[in-house]
């Protein structure tokens, strides 16, 4: 198990200290401290309006913080405009230039840097090869599919060899099938290039499957930082337990207990486990690879997940049981 704590990361490439951003009466980012290590694929995860996109825009320099500082590779970014920051962003809308073809879009950043023509041509060709778009160099964005546009946006940011690549909901505009393939491709590219990715997403499955570490955000604050495994297995708050995956949150003495549906055993006979509750099946959702049950117990409706099992019926009286260490106590 990964036992890395959420304390300071040695040799962080991104250091955020006390960062605050207000829009009128709304505090979008509220006194955030965060560190990202080089080579990480770091995810900012949260629902809409949690401040994750604002945090990303603060990193890119599109927003000016009201308080706090951002250091990138040890350099204070206060007052540094976007065009001078060593980061590049992949926009959620991709923001491809409609009047330029793919090669011109990708080469745009190199031309602004004053990179020689010959080198620009090679670097553009190389990166287009990397994202498998070599044959599309002369196409206009309007002539590309959604997945191809996404890869142009990625190539345009990657070709600049940024210290950090910022990705704003990189997969949100793709359809489900394409999204899953692209997930692996992004991770492969990130590992291959050894770059640091900071990604914003509202999709916890995406964050869990891609990120080396993630920060769960809520109302402008960071609720928890850790590896996907830590955040899932040891959530520190009810919010995180509820937001990441499905959790049964039980009132126990001195606080709360988060209990994942797959940690609960379901049986017709009373099981010999530390904790046992009787209940009645309210609903069964067969999902192919598993079955989800909603079970009414004395206290509350609990959610239990098992291997696909067709022997239980709605209305059956069943027993729920879980081991003494199955749940994770929460402070708040």
């Amino acid at each position: 198990m990964d036992d890395r704590e959420d304390g300071p990361v040695s040799g962080a490439i991104v250091k955020i200290k006390g960062l605050t951003k207000r829009f009128g009466a709304v505090t979008a980012v509220d006194n955030v401290d965060l560190e990202v290590a080089p080579g990480e694929l770091f995810a900012l995860l949260g629902g809409s309006g949690c401040g994750k996109t604002t945090l990303l825009r603060l990193l890119a320099g599109f927003e000016t913080p009201d308080a706090g500082r951002i250091f990138i590779d040890g350099q204070d970014m206060t007052g540094v405009p976007p065009h001078l920051r060593p980061v590049n962003m992949m926009f959620q809308s991709y923001a491809l230039f409609p009047h330029m073809n793919v090669a011109e879009n990708v080469g745009y950043g190199l031309r602004r840097e004053g990179v020689a023509k010959a080198e620009t041509t090679t670097r553009v060709a190389d990166v287009l090869e990397q994202v498998r778009l070599a044959d599309y160099a002369q196409r206009r964005p309007a002539q590309l599919s959604g997945g191809q546009r996404q890869r142009v946006a990625l190539a345009r940011a990657l070709v600049k060899r940024p210290k950090i690549l910022l990705l704003d909901e990189p997969l949100a505009a793709l359809d489900r099938k394409l999204r899953e393939g692209t997930r692996f491709e992004l991770v492969r590219l990130q590992e291959q290039l050894g770059l640091t990715f900071v990604m914003v997403t509202h999709d916890q499955e995406e964050a869990m499957s891609m990120a080396t570490r993630l920060a769960v955000m809520n109302a402008g604050r960071i609720a928890q930082v850790g590896t996907p495994h830590e955040v899932y297995e040891r959530p520190t708050s009810r919010f995180v337990a509820d937001f990441i995956g499905v959790a049964n949150i039980l009132k126990i003495e001195g606080g709360w207990l988060a209990l994942r549906p797959e940690k609960i055993a379901l049986s017709a006979e009373r099981p010999g486990l530390a904790n046992v509750v009787a209940g009645k099946i309210v609903d069964i959702a067969y999902e192919g690879d598993r079955s989800l049950y909603r079970i009414a117990t004395d206290g509350a409706v609990m959610i239990v997940s098992t291997a696909p099992n067709l022997s239980h019926r709605r209305g059956d009286s069943v027993w729920l049981g879980w081991a003494a260490d199955a749940g994770h106590p929460l402070d708040a």
């Binding site: 599109f62 065009h83 923001a95 745009y108 950043g109």
Partner: protein
């Protein structure tokens, strides 16, 4: 249904093609000062050959094109700044600012040009102010010069430039400019490489909307310009009313139309293309 489609053609036939045929017929006729109307119909190219041989007409053409071109450029410069400022203003302020651009249309065009006469006259408000403030004790008179004509055209046609430019600038996706900045473009470079090329349809539309009527402009050069500002619209008027030479005036009108057919076709083509791109 068929009637609805036929209606514009009918309209065009009655109010454009028929008058045009009449004008063409008059242009091919000869001047007959003693008859009413003062034309003898026939097929002759005398009026047209006169147009191409007398230096006066060529000079008037060139002056018209030059004045229209320079004032279109000046209008573009001011119009772009205004449209850009309005498009970047807070959304709730934009309708007010746009209304201010259109507001002068509430007063008759002719009256507004007369008002400029009052401003630019030798003893007009401008010179009174210059003398009063001591900036110039003996200021020259702008009225009756080509400067006044330029000023009048820029003033009168500015809204026609601002509106199409505003339409494209307002639609411009701001994330494109953020992407440009993110990729290392300074604000001015982002303007030159993103904003300007993407607003080209508005620039073309605005310039043609100003240039086309400015070439044939009559009221502004007549009221604000001097006798030496020879624009083709004024020549036409003089031939018709002062010299009562209908065939020659008609020939001038036809040449004006042919000359402007190019820019008008360009405008139509560009409008059709931007319509296509939207669908």
């Amino acid at each position: 249904m068929r009637f609805v489609i036929a209606l514009p053609f009918l309209w065009l036939g009655i109010f454009f093609l028929l008058p045009f045929a009449l004008v063409l017929a008059i242009a091919l006729g000869t001047n007959a000062p003693d008859s009413v109307p003062p034309v003898e119909l026939g097929i002759g190219l005398k009026s047209f050959t006169l147009l191409f041989t007398d230096d006066l007409y060529l000079a008037a053409w060139l002056t018209s094109l030059r004045i229209a071109a320079t004032s279109t450029l000046v209008t573009l410069l001011f119009g772009y700044l205004m449209a850009y400022a309005i498009a970047r203003a807070a959304p709730e302020r934009r309708p007010l600012l746009l209304m201010l651009v259109v507001l002068p249309f509430w007063t008759s065009f002719l009256i507004r040009v007369y008002a400029w006469m009052g401003l630019l006259d030798e003893n007009g408000l401008l010179n009174q102010f210059l003398r009063w403030s001591g900036i110039a004790t003996d200021p020259g008179t702008i009225l009756g010069t080509e400067w006044a004509v330029h000023l009048g055209i820029v003033y009168a046609y500015l809204p026609f430039m601002v509106l199409p430019l505003y339409a494209v600038l307002e639609k411009l996706d701001m994330s494109l400019l953020e992407a440009a900045a993110d990729l290392g473009a300074r604000p001015f470079a982002a303007f030159l490489t993103i904003t300007l090329p993407l607003s080209l349809p508005g620039i073309v539309a605005g310039c043609l909307l100003v240039f086309i009527p400015a070439v044939g402009e009559f009221v502004i050069p007549d009221l604000l310009g001097g006798t030496d500002t020879l624009m083709i619209g004024k020549v036409l008027w003089d031939e018709f009313f002062t010299n009562a030479d209908w065939p020659l005036a008609s020939a001038v009108a036809i040449c004006l139309l042919v000359l402007l057919a190019g820019p008008i076709a360009l405008f139509q083509h560009q409008q059709a293309r931007s319509l296509e791109r939207r669908t």
